[in-house]
């Protein structure tokens, strides 16, 4: 009876592991394990490597736990019993040494990987990157393409196989984070601060983009589509957007940055100069009271855009 239940439990565990593996590695919804860009691929491989290294430490622990639990059961009076055995120099040195070795190996990996996959580092320094400026607003994402002079809301399109530079800031919102899981890791978008990340898409495709940091009521609506297309498709798209009737000005930016949910995908055929720098610097403008500083900055901006 006991043996049978043991076999059943074992089979159930095998089934679970199989199902888990199937979901994780086979499921195409599992974005982080199905990367579509160089950065995300490196990050995924790093996950596998780290898990493998940790299993070197964890598997003996599990085996030991099962062994000890079965063998030294109080009913088993044949097993050795040494109630006063409480210290062994060699073993202690071995435990510490073993764990320190594994963790040191991982530390080296951390150091190398953190530098290699530092979001500040450009992917192919000799190639001219495709630049997108990202503005986190409440509760939407504005993407400005300075090289094309166009902009889009909650939708970003870029050419495949081209190194991408995302310059990221936010306006009048608590911290959010900019994340396209299938292309690579996230980075915070902060009002008054500029961050950046470098990504690349290896193929054409539509990827889910999101924020992982709560910034208010509409946080769950901070999602966007990242669309990777061929170079010629991108050129055609940019041309079409150029004919869009909407123009992004400091006025329409101000309107857009008012809290709203859910935001429509919108395209703008023109953008004001220096928008990114102005928005990053807006909180430095006037050391007077908050409300005044805001309106003055905004009117100042309007002047600049004319």
């Amino acid at each position: 009876m006991k043996k049978l239940s043991g076999i059943i439990v074992f089979l159930l565990i095998v089934l679970d592991v199989y199902l888990l593996g199937k979901i994780l590695i086979g499921g195409k919804n599992v974005q982080i394990l199905n990367p579509q860009g160089f950065v995300a691929l490196q990050e995924r491989n790093l996950i596998y490597l780290a898990v493998a290294l940790m299993l070197i430490g964890a598997i003996p622990v599990f085996i030991m736990a099962i062994f000890v639990g079965r063998k030294y059961h109080a009913n088993n009076t044949n097993a050795a019993y040494s109630p006063d055995w409480d210290h062994h120099h060699g073993l202690q040195i071995f435990f510490w040494g073993f764990l320190i070795t594994i963790m040191s190996a991982l530390s080296v990996i951390v150091w190398v990987a953190a530098h290699q996959l530092d979001p500040h580092v450009a992917l192919e320094p000799d190639k001219k990157p495709f630049v997108v400026q990202v503005f986190a607003l409440r509760y939407k994402w504005l993407f400005v393409y300075p090289q094309q002079g166009i902009a889009s809301v909650n939708y970003v399109e870029f050419p495949e196989k081209t190194p991408l530079t995302f310059e990221i800031t936010a306006s009048d919102t608590p911290m959010t984070s900019f994340w396209i899981p299938q292309l690579g890791g996230q980075i915070y978008a902060m009002s008054g601060m500029a961050t950046q990340t470098h990504l690349i898409a290896d193929t054409v495709g539509q990827y889910r983009g999101a924020s992982s940091e709560i910034n208010g009521d509409g946080y769950a609506d901070m999602v966007f589509t990242a669309h990777s297309v061929t170079k010629s498709d991108f050129a055609a798209w940019a041309k079409r957007v150029k004919h869009s009737p909407n123009k992004l000005t400091y006025d329409s930016f101000k309107k857009l940055s008012q809290p709203s949910i859910p935001a429509q995908v919108t395209f703008y055929s023109s953008t004001p100069d220096n928008l990114f720098t102005t928005i990053v610097m807006q909180y430095m403008a006037h050391p007077s009271t908050g409300a005044q500083a805001k309106s003055e900055t905004m009117s100042g901006m309007n002047g600049m855009s004319k």
Partner: protein, 667 residues
Amino acid sequence: MNWKEFILGKLTWNDLPHEWFTLGGTGAFVVLAIGLAIFLTYFKRWKWLWNEWLTSTDPKKIGVMYIAVAFFMFLRGGLDALMIWSQQVLGASNMPGFLGAQHGYLSADHFQQIFTAHGDIMVFFVTMGFLFGLINLVVPLQIGARDLAFPFLNSLGFWLYFAGVLLINMFFVLGGQFGATGWLAVAPLSELQFHPGVGVDYWIWSLQVSGLGTLIGGINFVVTILKMRAPGMTLMRMPMFTWTSLMSMMLVITIFPILAMTIALLTMDRYFGTHFFTLNNGGNQMMYWNLIWMWGHPEVYVLIIPSFGIYSEIVSTFSKKKIFGYPSLVAAAAGITLLSFAVWLHHFFTMGAGADVNSFFGIMTMFIAIPTGLQIINWLFTLFRGRIQFVSPIYWFFGMVSTFTFGGMAGILMAVPPIDFQVHNSLFLVAHFHTTIVGGALFGIFAGFTYWFPKFTGFRLHETLGKYAFWTWLVGFFISFVPLYILGFMGATRRLDHYAASTGWQPLFLTALVGICILALAVGIQILQLIVSIVKRKELRDTTGGDPWDGHTLEWATTSPPPFYNYAVIPEVHGRDAWWEMKKQGTAHKPVKYHDLELPKNTPMGIYIAGFIFLFGVAMTFHATLFSLIGLFGAVTCAFIRAFDDHSEYILPAAEVEKIENRLRKK
């Protein structure tokens, strides 16, 4: 300022309960209060409650009160969990909303308030409460002390904790909203610009007040452990639970001032228009994140380190062996304590610090795995060549090995900055910290509760039901949290009240909800276990005179339950497993000569001070100046009165002690 504002502040009729959840919450409190009042009146227990319990300075009674309050908050936090997950199941975009919500049945704002409250309650008022309860119960007995160094401060600390509990629930009755900011109220989201309502203010005062109580408790226990050990108990002879409690409380007194200061700065921003963490006028939002995590990361170690001590006690007792590698275990606890200060930045690798900074904090975080792993290995080697009795505390231990290890591995993954960029703030993270806190800290607390229960009641918990509860917990645990790891890899972020159905997340959310329902069943079995044990207490009675498990440490030397003075004669300690050695050498239960004992008197001052501070907290939340002043003045006055009270102790004559001892020993 007009008179009405001076007296009532922002309070209006609209702040009274009128939504379904505020009415429900208030109603539940009223029913609970009336039920309690009827019970106490019917059994004529009012005086007993006041004299024997509420005003007590006995750490054993305060410990029981901590555990009772923490348990009620556990149910409250669990209800929050059920609401969070049912919303996430119903929040898929292909399902219609109801009860006036656009998605599911909760509005985004309400949903965010619930997970904020869930986090705060589970950390501050459940885990911390259980922890302080167990430490209060066990540590004085383990070190052979009659009382704490500062018995009154212990009572005050508990009542401040209770005031915090009331403050975090007070929004049901007045105001109708809690902070919708996440459990740490990160700035600038918690600033007036984004949260002008009273919700964040409730958060501020609830945590500030209970944090003060925690700090007081921490100081008390550090002094008690360092100064009040029985003769012969050197530091390296202290039981492991005492060691880990000492480490945890050292952490408390180091980090809780940081929390108090951070909240104070946020308070100044919100109340006096300063700009520490605002967006404009030079405020620095990133500073808040650094400060709150400088407190926040060590805080999770405050929660878990005592549980490590509990596991140490349990594996040793139930394998009938000395603990293996004691010096290593002490070094490990100290190592975790120290390292926990150097890792806070791993909570925001994604803020854009350079690779050097990120690597440093990542590597420091990984190093924590060294002492933690070492503990698990040493526990297994304690069991090695032992005679393991498979009672429920050992079940919880093995449960911890099978859950916490995965949680730890997930933690190491997230310590690698580039991996963290992919899983940060996703449900992978949520799964990770639930695995460590539930599988590590809470399982330890359950184990400790079962282990020490007979010491304080004189009877054991029902064993079979305990094992049912364990298995239900374990199964429910995996069904709830494994889907979250997968969801994290699917790119699902935490705190979403709705999501596109095309993401394919809904089945996994549903699985997790099923898991939580199983966990609710497990808690139900635990309640049943408690009730059955009390009903069958005659059958389950501990007939061994206070040592039902053949324990190693001093707490098993007293009777069960111990007399209010713990030890008639302070035991003398000659080795590490003091009580075990005494039993082996036949020096236990020697006839003794009794002396007069000096003991602390009961005092209601803790209740009065905490009551005034509670009033202060509620009044400040509504900017009601008059009542704030009354609260503050009342608290300070009571503290003064108490400070000049020279008659806080009394003498228990030797003859009386002898009488009590004879009665207890005969039983």
